[in-house]
Amino acid sequence: MKGSKGRMRSCSMRSMRCAATLAAVWMASVLDASVADVLQPGNSLPGLRLRDADSGEWKRLDGLRGRPAVLHVFASW
């Protein structure tokens, strides 16, 4: 999970990689603060249908209701 906190912790093994990863995290945070998408506080989750990566079933993003939820948008690279 490049750029995630978990990845940041693991980067201490190799300093150059760590620096690159931290730079990427910093860049993502700067970019993230400056761009507009619909995932903003006060908005409902969009009614987007996406496939479950395990089963291939279609699921709605706005189906995350009924209980508080944490939604993590990421990539494994």
């Binding site: 690159a20 990427a24 996406l50 494994s76």
Partner: protein
């Protein structure tokens, strides 16, 4: 386990909080291996087309029981406040940009590639400057390439569509990363999938079986970033006199895709070239895996540097002969501000066996890649 996941684990374990992920990558099954490696347990949704229209990752959202986003990339205090919040009244869901091509998006995710590409192509006629259409077209071309049912130029088409998308919206870092995944080392912020080998080893060490990957990461996807002037190691031309007999050109298929650096103002220009070799279907030839491996020599163009200039494709160890496609990658760099080479040539040396008389041959094939045909800024 990520810090945020550890923090909320008690609430997840007792069912008070649910967790889900949305993947912004071309091959979602790689994230399933990542999840297994990190011993995470939440469901993952695939969004290779970037339908969520985010520009960068990671993004962590705290969503209340009514589906309202309350915090984005929360601070320590936000987590505490979130767990004590009453749900807000839900406003109408926002409209995502780029939902006008839902039928093509649906077809793309169902693996109906031709239908998806036709839909995007029709939309591009009306709106050729819509970067999302270019990006999604690139995703579908690459997916068809990876499906094993693709056409020879699918990867080249993907690279060109992605480049066009990024030209239209340079600040879109999800799109930029998709190009960098296959692009030159000079343009890489980090190795994209070097974690896969560590993940597999650790999963096996703890008694598990790593989840399979449909498409193995290779070449550019594993490469580390490079710096201008980085040493390339010793090389020598394996056939400087050109004395090895040439194969008939039509008996070995060679396809090339050049992926350009995404950096507009870099001090060094760079391209990563993907060369794909395979015996032509009607050639009656197979790779001979019991002799020297496929070797490629790059004739460095004037004013450029090739890294590496000599490459080898290791023979499969489990088969004496085979006919699979073999991909070899190299990079060209040149001083920033200059136009860069218009073409690059070289040759391949390889061992093949003929089906009809079982005779095995050592042959050479000369090639030249026209870089001006590839879309570039």
């Amino acid at each position: 386990m990520p810090v945020w996941r550890a923090r909320i684990k008690p609430w997840v374990d007792n069912g008070a909080v649910q967790v889900a992920g949305v993947l912004q990558e071309q091959h979602p099954e790689r994230a399933l291996l990542f999840r297994q490696w990190k011993e995470l347990d939440f469901p993952l949704l695939s969004d290779p087309l970037n339908l969520l229209d985010v520009k960068a990752v990671p993004i962590t959202l705290l969503v209340d029981a009514n589906g309202v986003i309350r915090f984005r990339n929360p601070s320590e205090e936000d987590w505490e406040r979130f767990l004590a919040l009453e749900p807000a009244q839900a406003p109408e869901p926002p409209e995502l940009p780029g939902q006008a091509w839902a039928e093509a998006d649906f077809a793309a995710q169902e693996g109906r590639f031709e239908e998806a590409l036709s839909g995007y192509a029709r939309a591009l006629v009306d709106d050729p400057s819509e970067g999302r259409l270019h990006f999604r077209s690139g995703v579908v071309y690459r997916a068809r390439h990876d499906s094993g049912k693709g056409r020879p130029d699918d990867f080249a088409q993907a690279a060109q569509f992605w480049q066009r998308a990024l030209d239209l919206e340079p600040g879109q870092y999800i799109w930029r990363r998709r190009i960098q995944q296959y692009g030159p080392r000079l343009d890489k912020p980090y190795p994209f999938y070097d974690w896969v080998k560590d993940a597999r080893r650790e999963i096996v060490e703890r008694g598990g079986e790593p989840l399979p990957l449909r498409v193995e990461p290779s070449g550019a996807e594993l490469a580390s970033p490079a710096r201008p002037g980085e040493a390339s190691g010793p090389n020598h031309n394996p056939d400087p006199e050109g004395s090895i007999e040439r194969v008939e050109e039509e008996s070995l298929a060679v396809e090339a895709v050049a992926v350009f650096s995404t950096a507009r103002d870099a001090g060094t220009g760079a391209i990563r070239v993907h060369l794909r070799f395979r015996p032509a279907g009607d050639s009656g030839l197979h790779w001979n895996n019991e002799a020297e491996p496929l070797t490629v020599w790059i004739d460095t163009p004037a004013g450029a540097e090739a890294v590496p200039v000599r490459l080898e494709y290791p023979n499969p160890e489990d088969r004496a002969v085979s006919a699979e496609e073999r991909t070899i990658e190299f990079e060209l760099t040149w001083p920033g501000g200059e136009a860069g080479p218009e073409s690059v040539g070289g040759f391949a040396l390889f061992n093949v066996c003929r089906d009809d008389d079982a005779q095995c041959l050592f042959r050479r094939l000369d090639f030249r890649v026209d870089l001006t045909r590839q879309q570039r800024r």
